[in-house]
C-alpha cells in the first residue's frame, strides 16, 4: 500500500515537472493554461493531452499556446489556431458537426434501443409467473405421487 502510494506520488511528480518545466510569462495564468492544455490532444502520442505529453511537437505547441495567451488571445482563438492547422482531431471534445453527429447522438440511440429491449424482456417475464406457477404445482403433485408410491413400495419389503 505504501509502495503503491509512493509510486503514485512519483508519477505525479514527474508529470508535474514535465508540465511546469517551461517558464511562464507573468501575465499567463497557470490554472488557465493547464485547463486549456488538457483539452488539447498531442498529435504525436495521441492518447496524451498537450499538458501530459513530453513529445517535442507537444512542447512546441505548448510554447505557442503560452505565447498566444501572453499576447492576450482568448481560449477560443487559440483553439481555432490549432484546429486550422491540425483539424478537429486536436480537440479532445469534438464539435457538433454533420460528420460527428453520430458520435454525439449514437449513445442516446443505443440507450433508447436498450430501453426498448429491456421493456420487451420485462413484459414477457411478467407474463411468465402464472405459467411457472402452474408448472411448479404440477411438478409438486407429481413428486408427491412418486414419494407415496415409493413409500408404499418400501413398506412392502
Amino acid at each position: 500500500m505504501i509502495k503503491k502510494r509512493a509510486l503514485y506520488s512519483l508519477l505525479l511528480a514527474t508529470a508535474a515537472s514535465c508540465t511546469f518545466a517551461m517558464k511562464l510569462p507573468p501575465n499567463v495564468d497557470e490554472e488557465r493554461l493547464r485547463t486549456l492544455e488538457s483539452e488539447l490532444r498531442c498529435l504525436v502520442c495521441q492518447n496524451q493531452s498537450l499538458a501530459d505529453s513530453n513529445a517535442s511537437l507537444a512542447q512546441d505547441l505548448r510554447q505557442q499556446v503560452v505565447e498566444q495567451m501572453a499576447a492576450g488571445k482568448t481560449n477560443t482563438e487559440i483553439r481555432d489556431y490549432l484546429v486550422a492547422r491540425y483539424g478537429d482531431f486536436v480537440l479532445y471534445k469534438p464539435p457538433m458537426k454533420s460528420v460527428t453527429i453520430l458520435l454525439w447522438v449514437g449513445p442516446f440511440i443505443l440507450l433508447l434501443l436498450a430501453a426498448v429491449v429491456g421493456l420487451i424482456v420485462v413484459r414477457r417475464r411478467s407474463r411468465l409467473p402464472a405459467a411457472a406457477e402452474a408448472m411448479s404445482s404440477d411438478l409438486q403433485q407429481q413428486g408427491e405421487r412418486l414419494w407415496q408410491a415409493d413409500a408404499g413400495a418400501s413398506r412392502k419389503d
Partner: protein, 174 residues
C-alpha cells in the same frame, strides 16, 4: 418471431464485424488534413544550401512543386529517400526540402551521405513553419499547385503511388 430471434444475433454480429474490419484497415495515425484544398501557409526561410538567401512561398508561384518535410534525425526519411531520389532524376517537379527542427551541419552531412534529391532546402530550425503546415510526424509531403493551393498531402514516407496518382496527373503527364 422465432426466426427473427435466430437471425438477429447473426445480423448484429455481422454489423459488428463490418465495423471492426473497417477499424483494422484504418490507420489511426493518418489524420485527415485540414489544409488540403486550401492555400499553402506563407513562409520566409533561410536556404540550407545558400545561407545568405531566403525563399518565400511567393517565389514558388506558377510552379507545381513538392514540399517535403524531413530531418536528419528522422529514421522514416531514409525509407522514402530512394523514391525522392528517383523522382529528382526525372526532373519532373521541383522538390523543396523543409529541414524540420534540425541543425544545418547535421542536415548537410545527411544529404552528403544519402544523396540530395532537393532543388533547394529550407531550414525550419524552430519548427514554426512545420506547425503552420500542421506537421505532426516527419516525413510529410505537400503537393502544391501554381496558385499556391495544397492539392494533396502524404503523411509518412513518400510512395510511388502518391507520385503516380497525385503528382503526375497534376503535371499533365498521365
Amino acid at each position: 418471431m422465432k426466426s427473427l430471434r435466430l437471425i438477429l444475433p447473426i445480423l448484429i454480429l455481422a454489423g459488428l464485424a463490418v465495423f471492426l474490419y473497417r477499424g483494422l484497415s484504418l490507420d489511426p495515425r493518418t489524420l485527415p488534413s485540414v489544409l488540403v484544398g486550401k492555400p499553402a501557409p506563407d513562409f520566409t526561410l533561410t536556404r540550407l544550401d545558400a545561407p545568405d538567401q531566403k525563399l518565400s512561398l511567393a517565389d514558388m508561384r506558377g510552379k507545381v512543386w513538392l514540399l517535403n518535410v524531413w530531418a536528419s534525425w528522422c529514421t522514416a526519411c531514409i525509407t522514402e529517400h530512394p523514391t525522392l531520389l528517383d523522382l529528382s532524376r526525372n526532373k519532373l517537379i521541383d522538390i523543396v526540402g523543409l529541414d524540420y527542427k534540425d541543425t544545418a551541419e547535421q542536415a548537410s552531412g545527411w544529404l552528403k551521405g544519402n544523396g540530395n534529391p532537393y532543388t533547394l532546402v529550407l531550414q525550419d530550425t524552430d519548427g514554426r513553419t512545420g506547425i503552420n503546415y500542421g506537421v505532426y510526424g516527419v516525413p510529410e509531403t505537400f503537393l502544391i499547385d501554381g496558385k499556391g493551393i495544397i492539392v494533396a498531402k502524404q503523411i509518412g514516407p513518400m510512395t510511388s503511388e502518391f507520385i503516380e496518382q497525385k503528382v503526375l496527373p497534376l503535371l499533365g503527364k498521365k
